[in-house]
């Protein structure tokens, strides 16, 4: 970026500075032997034009809304439209969660995001023995279309988009959403939203799995194929690094494994015969925003640049929209502490700022009490207000990608990109992500990084305030508790649905699903048919477990 004589001058000045610095350090050494990111990436004390001397602005940085989108996917970014404020919510039954949705929308939230309870996430009904002790605790219980109808009472589905964190039974919940919207008078052509539907990262990190990788991938491609034709405003998949990071990966691993998962989905959909430019514009991403400020910002910028190149060069996508990496961000749950929980408000604010400076398209901010339970109304309000303060008061939305051109941020963006490519190449050499997962490769890499971080924490090489430094007692905070009558109500409703629906029709629908599962036809129309008859989530998933077999955890550690 600099002329040769200018660069030479910088190098000379740097040498002089280096001399002064050594002299000073011989008297007063630096505070730490190594300065590192939370991912243990070593950071230099100073970055200069020399660190980005080969950076080609037009090719590698460019303009927002223009390939390779390093500076953001929209030409006007937050000056045109703020990110979507989308709080991940689900508690107790559909009644409680519906109330929370209305509360958040009334307080300025701009998109919905459903957290389901564990039985739904794993494809079990609330009355399954596997659901014992779990009902309504980590999210909302949804067994049938009936629950979905209650969940969205009074919410205008032509105006609000909904994200659903759901994986093995993603197709079933999408089907319920489609039918519920239709009953509200909003057609599937109009609804907008996202299903997470990213099974590869489940095997790698989040571990809500049901079927083995290959049939899982087949059902995902069914949803991609169906939505491409029938639900054009739906993001068919949210390719997620969040859970990879929360499981203990480094930022580079999060970046690399997520994009490698994305590559695997694109390949699978193309193998089905889909045109890349038909489905790629509806792929979306989801990243963590951890506590290391600049590392996160560099990660988002690198992610957009790598993906744009992958789509254009590797998959020959032609539409600019296919090249764009659009992403949701959640602040890092794993950075929060049970100790001195009010400090979590501060952590979340810094993390939200990093996400915004990194150009996120949508954001969830964690609540201060989430190291204990689902957030209370008071806690979630502070979390939402954190985003609103960022958007309305701090001025960070005034200009696009304000850290571009920083010697440090550009150099770190380059470094993360290079390191991510090393991983992606390695996974390619293994034969792609499915094969890598079958070998346990990403799982072991993450376990190793998580263990290393814990050891560094235990040795006080890494500091978490209130945990291994500045430790003090803190009074207990009031937390949300699941009321037992919610469980009873849920079980009663499920029984009532089973009693009043047309069970002959349900049986027929399940037969259709079984046949399509075995013969390979697209499952989506059959699933929609089944949920319309109030077939339960487990009834459908049990068919798949029988046809495809179950995936069990290999338990790598």
């Amino acid at each position: 970026m600099l002329k040769e004589d200018q660069l030479k001058k910088v190098q000379e000045d740097k040498k002089k500075w280096g001399g002064d610095l050594s002299k000073m350090l011989s008297e007063t050494p630096e505070r730490l032997p190594r300065f590192t990111t939370v991912s243990d990436l070593e950071i230099k004390g100073l970055y200069t034009p020399e660190d980005i001397k080969d950076l080609d602005y037009s090719r590698e940085v460019g303009f927002p809304g223009v390939f390779p989108f390093t500076r953001g996917v929209q030409p006007s970014m937050y000056r045109g439209r703020l990110w979507t404020m989308r709080m991940f919510s689900g508690l107790g039954g559909p009644e409680e969660t519906n109330k929370r949705f209305h509360y958040l929308l009334n307080h300025g939230e701009t998109g919905l995001s459903i957290a389901f309870h564990y039985p739904t996430l794993m494809g079990y009904d609330s009355d399954s023995p596997n659901a014992r002790g779990e009902i309504g605790k980590c999210g909302v219980a949804v067994d049938t279309l009936k629950d979905m109808e209650i969940l969205f009472e009074g919410i205008p589905l032509d105006k609000v988009t909904t994200s659903m964190t759901i994986n093995p039974p993603a197709s079933v919940l999408l089907a319920m959403y489609i039918v519920m919207a239709e009953k509200q008078g909003v057609s599937k052509k109009e609804i907008g939203g996202t299903i997470q539907n990213d099974m590869l990262k489940e095997f790698i990190a989040q571990k809500t799995f049901m079927l083995p990788p290959r049939p899982s991938l087949r059902i995902i491609v069914d949803t991609i194929e169906y939505c491409t034709k029938e639900v054009p405003r739906w993001n068919t998949i949210s390719i997620s690094g969040y859970h990879i990071r929360e499981a203990g990966s480094t930022a580079v691993q999060e970046l690399a494994f997520t994009l490698a998962d994305g590559i695997a989905y694109v390949e699978a959909a193309m193998e089905r015969g889909l045109d890349v430019d038909d489905f790629a514009p509806r792929l979306s991403f989801f990243f963590d925003s951890h506590i290391d400020f600049f590392e996160e910002i560099a990660k988002y910028r690198a992610a957009r640049r790598i993906w744009a190149n992958v789509m254009k060069e590797r998959f020959m996508a032609k539409k600019p929209r296919s090249w764009m990496l659009r992403f949701h961000t959640q602040t890092a749950g794993c950075s929060l502490t049970a100790q001195q929980p009010f400090n979590n408000v501060v952590r979340t604010a810094y993390e939200a700022l990093a996400a915004v400076l990194g150009g996120t398209n949508s954001l969830h901010t964690n609540s201060l009490d989430e190291t204990y339970a689902i957030p209370t109304e008071e806690a979630v309000t502070i979390a939402l207000r954190t985003q609103q303060i960022l958007a309305e008061e701090t001025g960070v939305t005034n200009t696009i990608d304000p850290l571009a051109g920083s010697y440090f941020v550009e150099a770190l963006t380059n470094e993360m990109e290079e390191k991510a490519w090393d991983y992606i190449r390695k996974i390619d050499e293994m034969g792609g992500m499915v094969k890598a997962i079958e070998r346990g490769y990403p799982q072991m890499e993450i376990a190793e990084a998580a263990y290393r971080f814990q050891r560094q924490m235990d040795a006080n090489e890494k500091v978490t305030v209130g945990v291994n430094k500045y430790v003090t007692d803190h009074p207990p905070i009031t937390i949300w508790r699941m009321r037992p009558e919610i469980e009873e109500r849920q079980l009663k409703r499920l029984q009532e649905v089973r009693r009043t629906r047309n069970n002959g029709k349900v049986k027929e629908c399940l037969g259709e699903i079984r046949k399509a599962s075995q013969n390979g036809g697209n499952l989506m129309p059959h699933i929609i048919h089944a949920v319309r008859e109030y077939t339960t989530i487990q009834e459908i998933c049990d068919v798949w477990r029988e046809v495809f077999g179950r995936y069990t955890d290999p338990g790598y550690f």
Binding site: P119, R132, G133, A447, Q454, D553, G555, F557
Partner: protein
């Protein structure tokens, strides 16, 4: 020579958060214990069967979904039913302070909450779990 302490690290319920369980399994192994890890999504019945079959001295349960109030006492009861209540049960995860007392009352020997170091957990095991005869 005294045999090594054998610990079963178990992940009951449907929750998939295994970061802590895997770290503690590896930390125990590095500390010289014999460690068996069940993997995820185990029912209390499966955990107790594995503990007895593997002849372990202690079971470490890790749970982050909030189902501890059902699952921990269930494991203790099943152990009693099998005449194996000498197997020490301890646990960790997202467990509100007010629940810890009642879990201890039901027979859980210790609950480790976030912020526990590997060394602290290892030390506790050495002091509280002996290889059974």
């Amino acid at each position: 020579m005294e045999r090594k302490i054998r610990i079963l690290i178990a992940k009951p319920g449907l929750d998939g958060h295994d970061r802590g369980a895997k770290i503690i399994a590896r930390g125990f192994r590095d500390a010289g214990f014999e460690v068996i890890y069940t993997g995820l999504h185990q029912t209390p019945e499966q955990i107790v069967a594995a503990a007895i079959q593997e002849d372990v001295d202690g079971i470490g349960l890790s749970i982050l979904s909030g189902a501890h109030d059902y699952i921990f006492p269930q494991v203790i009861q099943l152990l009693q039913g099998k005449g194996a209540s000498d197997i020490v049960v301890f646990g960790g995860g997202i467990i509100p302070e007010e629940d810890i007392l009642s879990l201890k009352g039901s027979g859980v020997k210790a609950i480790f909450v976030p912020g526990t170091t590997i060394e602290e957990a290892v030390k506790w095991v050495r002091e509280n779990i002996k290889p059974r005869k």
